[in-house]
């Protein structure tokens, strides 16, 4: 393996693409997935706003989006992606399908985090006369913060993995590079370098997330 043969600017470009794809999709995933997860939790049976119809509908949509293979989602979403991102190509084109795939996943994680909380917290709030909005914002979310941060990290790492498939629509990124040069053109060194960068990226995310969780727990 000769590191001199590797096209470093190309790898740099791909690293930036992966970071952009993961970063922006994570942002939108949290913006959409967090409220969705809270609503899923609140409308589920025996909760504050328990509503079977809404819960079943949302739950069904979440399950459908989670069952569609990402590669297929990437393709069938092309017309919608074009409306949302202005193009179905490149990094911009990869973000809507990444969000559509990760937001339901994240919402389920949030729902589970909230479900694991001590029911005494929200009961105490209700007893003190808090409405459901106050209960969620002032009691549940602060309580659930560490769990939600951990869920964000899990989702971020899943997004790094999904972004590898965006090469199908010219999304670029490290996964695409590993596939096109490493696999299709037998440039094993390119494949190794991209995989090492991906491992470092995931590692950094996890360590950073774990530290954040520890710090939040101390408070």
């Amino acid at each position: 393996m000769n590191l001199g043969n590797i096209d470093w600017p190309l790898i740099g470009e791909a690293t930036v693409d992966t970071l952009l794809m993961t970063g922006f999709s994570l942002l939108f995933t949290v913006i959409i997935g967090l409220p969705l997860g809270i609503v899923l939790f609140l409308t589920s049976p025996r909760q504050m706003l328990s509503n079977t119809a809404i819960y079943q509908l949302l739950s069904f949509i979440v399950n459908v989006l989670r069952s569609v293979p990402f590669l297929i989602l990437l393709i069938v979403m092309i017309p919608l992606t074009r409306v949302l991102a202005g193009t179905s190509l490149g990094v911009e084109g990869a973000i809507p399908p990444l969000v559509a795939s990760a937001a339901p996943f994240f919402a389920r994680l949030v729902e589970n985090v909230l479900r694991e909380l001590d029911p005494g917290v929200s009961e105490a709030c209700r007893a003190m006369g808090a409405n459901s909005r106050q209960t969620v914002l002032l009691a549940l979310l602060p309580e659930a913060m560490t769990g939600i941060v951990a869920a964000v990290i899990v989702t971020a790492i899943a997004l790094v993995g999904y972004s590898a498939m965006s090469g199908v629509i010219g999304g670029g990124g490290l996964g695409d590079l590993a596939l096109r040069f490493g696999y299709q053109r037998y440039q094993t060194d390119v494949m190794i370098v991209t995989v090492v960068i991906l491992v470092i990226m995931v590692q950094v995310l996890q360590v950073f997330g774990d530290r954040l969780v520890v710090r939040l727990n101390r408070k």
Binding site: D7, L10, I75, I78, R82, T87, S88, L89, G90, G93, G167, V168, I169, G170, D176, R180, Q184, R185
Partner: protein, 262 residues
């Protein structure tokens, strides 16, 4: 006495040789099923009249047809294009040669934004297949149209990074070959394999902005060994595949998905 005893046998032998000489010359040709074997079936009756009996051996693999011809097990084959033949010769140290071009399964450039090449703007977005052979083929077609120049003009494994001159500042997007028809509205031009274009309802003859012609380096050819390329039967086979009847047959049966290269 002895002569008398053997005379009938000799006579039988002699007549056997005589019929063999009068009989058609047999030619075994390896081909892939579509369209190669179909084209060979089409010319079979005409060749029979010329005294060549065609024995078509259908293969679905791309290595054995060349191996069998190089070993002398078969007389010729018809399934590949020149870039493939060259790389095969280089890898396997064989000396197979092309005896004649028959057809191109053409690669075309499509657009939903512009009607002709002159309308292509500076900085236009061009989508290419991202796999090695199709990507390079697309770049070679662009070079052929004078849109770009490659560092090595005959590199059949070129990528967008091997472009030396790009006067129109075209921006290239490399993506999965099968996805290209779907992203057509997002780019100015997309270079699409004919099979994928046909599946997406595009017609290579009417819809393509430009398409590989008979001068394409990817024309499918009849190949045999260097030593046998001038043999009469092989020359007859090539001639039979390059007639007007075959041209009409190709145009009617394949409706533009393949074009004659002779």
């Amino acid at each position: 006495m002895l002569l008398k005893k053997f005379a009938p046998a000799a006579l039988v032998l002699a007549s056997l040789f005589a019929t063999a000489a009068a009989q058609a010359e047999k030619l075994s040709v390896a081909a892939t099923p579509v369209p190669h074997a179909e084209l060979l079936e089409f010319v079979k009756p005409a060749l029979a009249k010329e005294g060549v009996e065609l024995d078509i051996k259908v293969f679905t693999d791309y290595v054995q047809p060349n191996v069998q011809v190089a070993d002398g097990q078969l007389d010729a084959n018809f399934f590949q294009h020149k870039p493939y033949l060259d790389s095969f010769n280089a890898e396997r140290k064989t000396s197979l040669v092309s005896v004649g071009l028959v057809h191109v399964e053409p690669f075309g450039a499509y657009s939903s934004k512009i009607k002709s090449l002159d309308e292509l703007k500076d900085g236009a977005q061009v989508a290419l297949p991202n796999d090695p052979s199709n990507g390079a083929r697309a770049l070679l077609l662009l070079q052929n149209q004078g849109l770009i120049k490659l560092k090595d003009p005959s590199n059949i494994l070129a990528t967008a990074r091997d472009i030396a001159e790009n006067p129109k500042n075209l921006r290239f997007r490399e993506l999965e070959a099968a996805t290209l028809p779907r992203v057509l509205p997002d780019v100015d031009v997309a270079l699409i394999n004919t099979n994928y274009a046909l599946e997406a309802g595009l017609n290579p003859v009417n819809d393509a902005l430009f398409i590989e012609g008979e001068d394409s380096p990817y024309a499918n050819l009849v190949a045999t060994t260097e030593a046998r390329k001038d043999e009469a039967a092989i020359q007859k086979l090539v001639k039979a595949l390059q007639t007007n009847e075959v041209r009409q047959f190709i145009q009617e049966k394949y409706k533009g998905s393949i074009v004659p290269a002779f």
